[in-house]
Symmetry: D2
Subunit: 337 residues, 4 copies
């Protein structure tokens, strides 16, 4: 920690700060500058008490951490790239993966039609929501376990892996029984009890970035998964909330090189949520592939205009085939398969 003192404070005020630093287990180191005195507090910031409370002292101008707060998810903890094996498909490996399927599971027919179509087009994992977090209590909340059973049936028929969202701690075991990857949605990205419950199922976890989550907070939320002894974590960028209203969210593709730099965990891009508009999805997929994403999560629906949720952002089956075709040269250019 670096503690910047205010200019012209008394000797007594300075001594009090030094005493407090020592009390919290750090070794103080004084630097007298031109205008201000700066104290370096030497010690491990992750195991000692926090010095940020010093910023409440009147003689202190600023307190700045120098260590990163995340450990297990950090690139320093694991130099290579972690990979996650989902029914034989490696996420984070040389092969580029595509997860596709409807926003919500609506019926067996809708799901199976989509599953066969996305498999034929090259997807390896099927997405579909059985529990849906909806802004209004009057909107469709998902089919629940019935939807999970349909996902399991689709897997059996197609061999695709399954990813679906976990909304409630109470459903952790049930969802884990059916799915191959547990998705934590943006609204629950700092619902730490849910993160812990998901981690404890032992299933791979895909952690979406919260609507206004800083990179550091996202990495620390991921730390909750690894600290609960689940090594199979992947991050998923799905757009952040900004002032712009043209798109539903602002897809922050810079997260791809940033996550690759800071962490060993795979990064997945969700352009459907990011744009909220199917007509922008293709370009965003191309960008994600070129920038080094490990996988895409794409909403596909046989008839988007009649979808029970988020119709505006779902791609048609034909659109998906065309998209997969258009992505190929970029996957090759990115050195992926």
């Amino acid at each position: 920690m670096i503690i910047v003192l205010k200019p012209n404070i008394s000797k007594k005020d300075e001594v009090a700060v030094l005493k407090e630093i020592r009390k919290l287990g750090y070794k103080p180191h004084i630097m007298r500058g031109v205008e201000r005195t700066v104290i370096g507090a030497i010690g491990d910031e992750r195991t000692h008490g926090s010095l940020e409370t010093l910023s409440a002292w009147t003689q202190v101008e600023n307190v700045m951490p120098v260590q990163k707060r995340y450990k297990l998810v950090s690139r320093e903890a694991h130099r290579g790239n972690s990979t996650i094996n989902v029914r034989g498909n490696l996420i984070g490996g040389k092969k580029f993966q595509v997860m596709a399927g409807p926003c919500s599971v609506e019926s067996e027919k809708q799901l199976l039609t989509t599953a066969h179509a996305v498999k034929a087009a090259g997807a390896t994992i099927l997405r579909g929501g059985a529990f849906k977090p909806r802004t209004s209590p009057y909107e469709f909340q998902g089919l629940g376990e019935k939807g999970l059973k349909m996902l399991a049936k689709a897997r059996k028929e197609t061999g695709l892996g399954i990813i679906t969202e976990l909304l409630s701690q109470d459903h952790a075991d049930m969802v884990a029984e059916y799915t191959d990857i547990i998705q934590i949605g943006a609204r629950n990205a700092q619902n730490f009890q849910l993160l812990i419950a998901a981690a404890k199922t032992g299933k791979p976890v895909m952690l979406k970035r919260g609507l206004s989550m800083k990179i550091e907070e996202w990495l620390l939320a991921g730390e909750y998964i690894l600290a609960n002894e689940n090594a199979n974590l992947m991050f998923c960028e799905r757009g952040i909330r900004t002032f712009e209203t043209y798109t539903r969210n602002t897809l922050d593709l810079s997260t791809i090189p940033i996550i690759k730099k800071e962490s060993h965990c795979p990064i997945v891009i969700d352009p459907s949520q990011g744009a909220g508009r199917a007509d922008l999805v293709v370009a965003m997929c191309k960008g994600a592939v070129a920038m080094g994403a490990d996988a895409l999560l794409i909403e596909v629906h046989p008839n988007p205009a009649e979808a029970w949720s988020d119709g505006a952002q779902q791609v048609t089956l034909e659109g998906f085939v065309k998209l997969m075709e258009e992505l190929k040269p970029f996957i090759t250019a990115a050195g992926r398969e």
Copy 2:
């Protein structure tokens, strides 16, 4: 719903839109403008299927709702101001209420000292976290039920009502057994399962605004409480996330007149979280009182520099006495007691 068609589309494309509108249970009404044709879809937007999926159609330029999506929390549903009775203190009534106490319950001594002090200074409700949502898994997570028992003891000794945060559905009954008001924190403001669990305890619920929650989303999250048959809802503004880094959050005091206009539920202001700095709390409290807030939620600690969480934003016991004194003329000016 208003559906704006693109310029120069074919008759056939227009007819398809009209057909879909009727299929979803609305009555279409066509207006031919100078450049664009606009269709009004007449019907209750809250009970019919959503027409937003039409925006995925190539002939459609824009789809705009005209109805408000919230019902039970709206001012239209209840013309008067709702009040909530907490151990004889009315929140939302003529008397201005102050909830105060430490960020986290740390020890019996810390809590009782604070409780007696805030009571003497005029607070009527004691706040204190027993379960703490922390950005990092390595930070103090709260004393749990032990903390709840301390809160109950403080209530017994002082007569103050209790407010504390609920973090997990699994703790809903336990927390409800001890507390008078259940607090839903900003990170869980759209954790709908937690909202439902809180509502079902029957205890009054204080719903904090999420870090990047729009007013409409906040009202709709509140709708989850009322729709689950709990009429005792109050909203709490605690600052939103913006680009500014001087303060931890940007306290949006305009929520006071807005909530009063849109809803009948009381509005509480939390300047401690809003500023993240004790030195700004006094001014923010004055603003909140003047603008018509029903209550304040203030973090007070006997020794903020040694607090186990969020020391920088907690006011000292002496600071709180002074604050309460300074607020008096503004409470009077606002026509409150």
Copy 3:
């Protein structure tokens, strides 16, 4: 400056950093921590070359400034509160000031009617735009010098001081000839050439905060005024751009205690732009007064629904009389006149 090195770098890489620090005129001071080495670079950050470029070096993790970058506007430069004399009315003194008038000057009749009405209600300064920055080139751009002449006439008739916006360097002398205070609008808050031109007229300058301007950037923009030898600067908060769409902007009232803490210059609040809705203006004015603002800038129009710009946020003449009446107890409570 504090330079944080990456863990496990070579001795040679460390020496290179030390050499660069000395080259730029600072004295390096090494602190070896548990995981990282931190270097304090001692010297005046405002006069020496910037060390931030070091962050481009591969062995450097982070570079953090410790000094504040603003001097002349800072509270350290001038302990008391600066006041600005506008035709006998002190802004920043004990008397609370109200600036009111139409968004745009539209006609002599509209302006004089408003001027007499706001004067009668207690305003001391008349606002009115003669040059209007409009998002679209097809919108009304202001009456130009004709509007300035009308403002001068209104001043002559009522004795009110005048505030109007300067949009172009080329108009600096012309606008200064007519007005008592030059307003720099939000869109031009970092148009430094305009700031310099305004400063050089010698007239008092009111600097609005840019739509997404951090406090530090705002203070530094103000520094451009004082550094160009114009001591009569006041800041004006008018709402920042956030994700919220209910209001046009989010009025950040925390700027009042922050500007008072960081600077000696007066702070004015513009609730009309901040809310973009007349129905929220009254509450925001009360909050601003209670929190210690020095003045208000309020849009008032004889017939807002027919205003040539921003009708939605303008208060009627009757509304203004009522507002001034309602503010009185809060002005008294705030210890102002």
Copy 4:
């Protein structure tokens, strides 16, 4: 325009709205819905007076425009893609263009070294700031005309086109004399007087997006160029301001498909400003190419650590050669040359 009335208003209040609509030149069209009455106001929203002021009326709940406010920049105005010829290089055509050079022009040697290097690596246009907008008045403000002369010399030696920023209306003729493209920076993106002055020089204009500019506002600012009879406009995304602090700005790559959809003008991406960190620039360039950008604007410096401005985001000469090499497969994949 669509005007939504409040529920249960009187006949008289409704008639008043209809009268006002007619007075402003629109033809009202009434739709009676389940809860609310909606009025369509038929007429050209761009030439008639604005109806938004109706939202100030107590009987009106909401006013929504249905027309787009921009004309000349819109895709509807010009179906094909506009191209801009800069010394024989077409921007917006099949050939992908790269503009590269230092943030600031510092010396003849620095500029010529960079110019030769970027030309050899494949760039066709040289960037370099002679007038620099700086947050603090104490930072380096650019070499001015001396810098422009150096740019002209570099053009003469290398044949590269020149792009440089215009900061002041008073310099428009001078800058136009030396440069091939006039850059309008983010801070001046709504400095409409500067936009008009730039347009009138007749030189191609590159308009950067403001820090918190909505797409619609950006397009409308571009409209100021075309409405002043300059057809050679290109847009440049350089990152927007969000809550994230890891990067200096959040580069919004979704602007590429959006600008292509809404406008016929070319779109340029500036990843240097967008990231503020050289180590993220390569990935962002790849994304921009893949998503269909027409050109890149990249900061390159012989020795970034000693740059006079923004060192942290400038790429070295070697880094630039490597970057250009890595981009090739993506340029091919995108169907460009």
